[in-house]
């Protein structure tokens, strides 16, 4: 379970996140939707301890990652930008990351073999990652997030850079993971992804969480046919009233 409690983050006078409060239940897919710079990535970075909250707290299975580093076993993270160690091969990278996450060698080898085949990376696992395309890096990062079979997944723009085949594969995989009772917090500005797989979406704008709802409810409430139109309606409405 993921809990965000009255979370705020300030950079000097700029308030990037303002009293955001929500939780993601076990087995749920929760999608943060927002424009560029809305504060989605900041919330995620605080949750996994890349940033420190100005106030409030972010917990995974009741634990703060800042207070207990070993609790980082509880999540797998896929970042928005695929920054990797360019001089390591995909196999070396996953071996090192897996063993740092406490995965046994035998299981790790099986995982790498299986997933590199599934994601069609098996021919490139011994090449340095600096030579990978963005999509290949995204696949490696997805494997890295899953390597220790964590109960929670934090995915920042998981389908960016993937071709339509793998984008669809990724969406199906995320749905399957939620059926296995894994908690999934996603951020995206591709509304069709959220519409297809999210149980609930939270719309965030200028650091404020405007609404939380299921995609269908949101479309009904705004009278729109697609989540994209509903999203734009909510944001425009808020800005008009501001």
């Amino acid at each position: 379970m993921i809990e965000i409690k009255n979370l705020s983050k300030r950079y000097g006078k700029i308030e990037a996140v303002k009293n955001v409060d929500f939780s993601v239940k076990n087995g749920e897919i929760f999608c943060l939707l927002g424009s560029n710079g809305a504060g989605k990535t900041t919330i995620i970075k605080i949750l996994i301890d890349l940033l420190e909250a100005s106030s409030g707290e972010a917990l995974i299975d009741g634990k703060s990652m800042r207070d207990d580093v070993m609790s980082k076993m509880l999540f797998g993270y896929l970042p928005e930008q695929p920054h990797l160690y360019k001089r390591l091969t995909g196999r070396e990278f996953l071996n090192i990351m897996g063993s740092l996450k406490g995965v046994e060698k035998e299981r790790l080898d099986e995982f790498i073999e299986l997933w590199s085949r599934r994601l069609e990376l098996d021919g490139r696992m011994n090449s340095e990652m600096g030579s990978y395309s963005k999509g290949m890096k995204q696949k490696i990062l997805f494997m890295n997030a899953m390597v220790h079979d964590p109960p929670n997944l934090v995915l920042d723009e998981p389908t960016v850079g993937l071709d339509p085949r793998f984008s669809q594969y990724m969406k199906k995989k995320i749905e399957r993971l939620s059926h296995e009772n894994k908690t999934i917090l996603m951020s995206t500005h591709i509304t069709s992804v959220a519409e297809d797989i999210a149980d609930r979406v939270g719309i965030i704008d200028r650091g404020e969480l405007l609404t939380i709802s299921s995609p269908d409810d949101l479309m009904d409430r705004t009278g729109r046919d697609t989540l994209e139109e509903a999203f734009v309606e909510v944001i425009d409405d808020e800005r008009r009233n501001a």
Binding site: V69, Y77, R87, E92, E128
Partner: protein
């Protein structure tokens, strides 16, 4: 049109650098002030040394005008070459320039101008400090009126030659690279020959000017080399032909798994970036320099310095400090900066900060045994020093490694530079300040036991071993502090 494009790129680079510099000065005013004091003091020391050794005839080199100019030329050229490799040839961000309709040459010239501009600033600043010292303290360096003409011209030719050499080092095929470096490297020999020839002082500037022009022509005609070198410098390859590969079982199993894995990751990356082989090479060069001095001067050099039998211990001490600075201090300074934007990877792992620091420092310290082997031991063995003396030098080298390693680890967490345009290298104020702090403390920790050693060898060794124990405690404290700073660091980029 060409001029406009080049100047636009150049001004962008300068603006970017200036903002970074300004930010550092505002963030760390004390550090900046301290840096200026150390810089001024450093030049004073150099002038003192020049004055001191002017009267010594036995040295294989003397501080003549030609030698001083050549040293200045060599330092600026080396600096320009390293900057070119690190900040240009391995700079992935140049792809943004290459993806615009600007020609390779404009990019090349703008990068050169950046290197050139900084070196001109450095010369101006250095000359100002030297002039103030000469007038304030009455130093009399062996220079005449033509010194400044030559210096100005060398100030132009050194960055050009350094830039061209930096580009050539990144050529993919080793045979072509070696050929180019050997051929073009003759420019350095030419400068040396001109500065040490019997040609009249009035004519030397014209020869130097000719060398500068020749090098500039090479710069203008090497745009394809620049493009190929950049592609090679920023590309990654299959690891099949690299020495370390596989799952990374490089280190012995008695270390804890997490520390071992972090260290293995570091070793692999540092080796593939050729940082470890390069620093080992520099250590071998320092050791070779000490051996050369021994061969030149013999076992009992009478240099009139008043050092007598302490000449070699002092020289070895200086060599050790330099080797430890280059092989341990500077690499540890970039422990975190080198991670760049991939810093999130290590921060999102369930690994305690102390394991991260231990693993990263261990990866650098693993190569440090070469320092006593190459620098501290060969000359004393040739001089048939007693066992106690050799042991003293050996323990001193361990002390320096631990002390500078600790200082570097702390500073890397306190002042990381995540700027990918310089590959995360620490900024010059951090490098210089930590070096001077390291020199101060290593002086205290080694010189006190050394004084006792002169009176009684065994008490001296006991004192040094005690200092080593104290240094080890300091190392643990500094690493612990580094771990806390790492844990508290925000990744707001």
């Amino acid at each position: 049109m060409m001029k406009e494009g080049t100047l636009e790129l150049f001004s962008t680079e300068i603006k970017h650098s200036y903002r970074g510099f300004k930010e550092r000065v505002v963030e760390r005013p004390f550090m900046t002030f301290w840096f200026i004091i150390l810089l001024v003091g450093g030049f004073w020391m150099v002038l003192m040394m020049v004055e001191l050794i002017q009267g010594i005839d036995e040295l294989p080199f003397t501080p003549s005008q030609g030698n001083i100019l050549f040293v200045v030329f060599f330092v600026i050229m080396s600096k320009a070459s390293v900057e070119t490799v690190e900040n240009t040839m391995r700079n992935h961000q140049l792809k943004h320039y290459f993806s615009t309709p600007i020609s390779f040459q404009k990019v090349q010239i703008s990068r050169f101008l950046k290197v050139f501009w900084y070196n001109l600033l450095l010369i101006a600043l250095s000359l100002s400090i030297v002039c103030i010292h000469i007038y304030s303290f009455g130093f009399q360096p062996p220079i005449d009126d033509y010194f400044f003409y030559n210096l100005y011209i060398l100030g132009i030719s050194a960055p050009i030659i350094g830039f061209n050499l930096g580009v050539m080092t990144q050529v993919k095929k080793n045979i072509v690279k070696m050929g180019l470096l050997i051929l073009y490297g003759q420019n350095i020999t030419l400068v040396w020959l001109v500065l040490h020839s019997n040609i009249s002082s009035t004519v030397i500037p014209y020869y130097l000017l000719a060398i500068s022009l020749l090098s500039f022509v090479v710069l203008l005609t090497s745009k394809k080399l620049f493009w190929m070198g950049w592609k090679n410098g920023t590309s990654s390859s299959s690891s099949q032909n690299l020495r370390f590969h596989g799952s990374g079982d490089i280190l012995p199993g008695f270390l804890d798994t997490l520390t071992r894995r972090v260290a293995e990751k570091e070793i692999l990356i540092r080796w593939r970036r050729r940082e470890s082989p390069a620093s080992l090479g520099v250590t071998a060069l320092i050791g070779g320099g000490l051996l050369f001095t021994y061969i030149q001067l013999g076992p009992d050099p009478d240099l009139g310095l008043g050092l007598d039998e302490f000449f070699y211990p002092v020289l070895i001490g200086m060599g050790l400090f330099l080797a430890v600075t280059l092989q341990v201090l500077f690499p540890t300074l970039s422990l975190f900066g080198r991670e760049g934007k991939a810093f999130w990877l290590i921060r999102s792992l369930p690994v305690k900060p102390k394991n991260v620091i231990r693993g990263k420092v261990l990866a650098i310290l693993l190569f440090s045994p070469f320092i006593p082997l190459m620098v501290a031991l060969p000359v004393p063995i040739l001089l048939s020093y007693s066992f106690e003396k050799i042991l003293f030098l050996f323990i001193s080298s361990l002390l320096l490694i631990i002390l500078l390693g600790g200082i570097g680890a702390w500073a890397s967490s306190k002042y990381p530079n995540f700027d990918e345009s310089v590959n995360g290298a620490p900024d010059v104020t951090t490098m210089y300040t930590t070096m001077m702090v390291g020199m101060f403390f290593s002086g205290i920790f080694v010189l006190i036991p050394a004084s006792i050693f002169i009176l009684n060898r065994w008490y001296g060794l006991l004192a040094l071993t005690s200092m080593l124990a104290i240094t080890t405690v300091i190392f643990y404290i500094l690493c612990g502090r580094a771990a806390t700073l790492y844990h508290e660091r925000e990744m707001d980029f």
